[in-house]
């Protein structure tokens, strides 16, 4: 055994050679007993005590994630927001200071090059992009943005996330004031002498925070956070199962250049003014599909029985090939296998019965609305 089944497993350990210098928390993870794997060009912790326990801990308490492989980029200069809107279909110009938004980097046809978070700050726009795509993204920005916009890749900043219903209690003890942030808000804080940029956001479906911290201070900060009784370090394995339950797509698996925001069912990321005005890559196709429907759509799938249906599994309705699974696995909080994939649009309706092919056998699956586990974000104006 130990040779993983080809084409249905590429969930976590992307076949990227470990070429980069170690991330700033590398030794900290190893000292904590993490199992390290190659991911996005870095050695990253896949698990500490076990994916199942780490996943459930995050849903009940608070999980500390190292996401320092992700790219942090600043944009400054006259017209930066307007210039970015050529590549991003979201409303960037109207973002207020301290407000952030999920968006997509599009190629000229509207295909998705990356998904990202962008925040307006007092003097710049702060963006977080995926680790595996960050250098390509920066190349795209350099090629396409006008000279008046300066791109600053923050290579000396680490990024950590604290996620879960107790995250606010744990972090507010260390950085008082963070509890005042609502979901998708961000602000600067200071921890002793260290400047922190903290947002109330994350990729688990839980309440929580993401913290940008200078790399030379990150070990001390995670020591302080991990010392809180609610907090355990959590690896990439649970990060993947948590985001899958939350219905959140993973770039390179659920999203790629073959998908546009309509096909990927991410039309919430195209705000009203952008729908009316267009003016972004692929707008003609995207706005047409927004009105008339796209040929296929990203959906959730529940799986009958206990056997996981994984990335690459083909989806059938009778003899007709109708789609492909792009992420799948065992969902610890659902206590059953779940999956995400693309199906032809007429089948993208919750309740539609299909079959997935796994190792030559058909497994009944059902199109399901996402998330699989309700989001528990700390939204402004929401009843507590």
């Amino acid at each position: 055994m130990m040779s993983e089944v080809p084409s249905e497993n590429a969930e976590i350990e992307d076949e990227v050679i470990d070429t980069e210098a170690p991330l700033p928390l590398d030794a900290w993870h190893r000292a904590r007993g993490a199992r390290m794997v190659a991911f996005a060009g870095y050695a990253m912790p896949i698990q500490y005590e076990g994916i199942m326990a780490e996943h459930l801990w995050t849903r009940e308490q608070a999980g500390l994630f190292d996401v320092s492989h992700m790219g942090q980029v600043l944009f400054t200069g006259e017209g930066a927001a307007q210039a970015l809107e050529v590549m991003l279909p979201g409303e960037i110009q109207a973002l207020k200071a301290g407000q952030m938004r999920y968006s997509l980097l599009l190629n000229e046809e509207g295909g998705i090059l990356d998904d990202l978070m962008i925040t307006r700050r007092a003097d710049d726009l702060y963006m977080v992009v995926n680790g595996a795509t960050k250098y390509d993204d920066i190349g795209t920005f350099r090629d396409e943005l006008p000279d008046a916009v300066t791109i600053n890749f923050l290579e000396d900043q680490a990024l950590i996330a604290l996620q879960g219903p107790k995250a606010v209690d744990a972090l507010a003890r260390i950085v008082p004031g963070v509890e005042a942030l609502f979901f998708m808000q961000a602000a600067g804080f200071a921890w002793h002498e260290t400047p922190l940029w903290i947002s109330r956001s994350g990729y688990t479906g839980e309440d929580g925070f993401e913290i940008s911290v200078p790399a030379d201070a990150v070990v001390a900060l995670v020591e302080a956070i991990a010392a809180q009784p609610e907090v355990k370090p959590i690896g990439l394995g649970a990060r993947d199962s948590l985001r899958l339950e939350a219905g959140l797509p993973l770039y390179g698996h659920d999203l790629d250049e073959n998908a546009n925001p309509v096909i990927a069912d991410l039309t919430f990321a195209i705000q009203k003014r952008r729908r009316a005005e267009g003016g972004f890559h692929g707008a003609e196709t995207i706005l047409h599909q927004l009105a008339e429907g796209a040929p296929s759509k990203r959906v959730g799938l529940t799986v009958a029985g206990r056997m996981p249906v994984r990335e690459g599994a083909k989806l059938y309705q009778g003899d007709a090939l109708v789609g492909t699974v792009t992420s799948g696995g065992f969902a610890p909080s659902v206590n059953a296998p779940i999956a995400m994939g693309y199906v032809t649009v007429n089948l993208a309706i919750a309740g539609t019965a299909l079959e997935a092919e796994v190792r030559g056998k058909r497994v009944p699956v059902t199109v399901a609305s996402m998330p699989f586990i309700p989001h528990r974000y700390h939204r402004k104006g929401a009843a507590k």
Partner: protein, 123 residues
């Protein structure tokens, strides 16, 4: 009864013509939480090295190979309800399948317990 090991971290207990196959403590530790096991059906003919079973952890599916050739007598039906037996008791209750050996000489290519421990210690 003798126990043999493969470099792919399967073990096989041999009692007369019958072998019982599972994965080692080292293997279960590497795989992490097991959520599903697919065992071979009775009567299936396996050649040494064939894909014989599949074990699924939260994150990935892995093949279990036949350590020797033979005919499957039974799969461990307890694993359908409790796949985590592979984690909690990999070298006893969490066995995968039993088979009738067709060529006992194939066992000579496998490791004994001390050779396997030495092999694992170098990984």
């Amino acid at each position: 009864m003798s126990r043999y090991f493969t470099e792919d971290h399967e073990w096989i207990d041999v009692d007369g013509e019958v072998g019982t196959v599972g994965i080692t403590e080292y293997a279960q530790e590497q795989l992490g939480d097991i959520v599903f096991v697919e065992v071979p059906e009775e009567g299936k003919e396996l050649a040494k090295g064939d894909d014989a079973a599949v074990v699924e952890s939260v994150k990935a599916a892995s093949d279990i190979y036949a350590p020797v050739s033979g005919t499957v007598l039974e799969g461990n039906s307890d694993l359908a309800d409790e796949p985590a037996l592979v984690n909690t008791s990999p070298e006893e209750d969490g066995w995968f399948f039993k088979l009738t050996l067709s060529d006992a000489e194939e066992l000579e290519g496998l490791m004994d317990e001390s050779a396997y421990q030495a092999f694992v210690s170098k990984l």
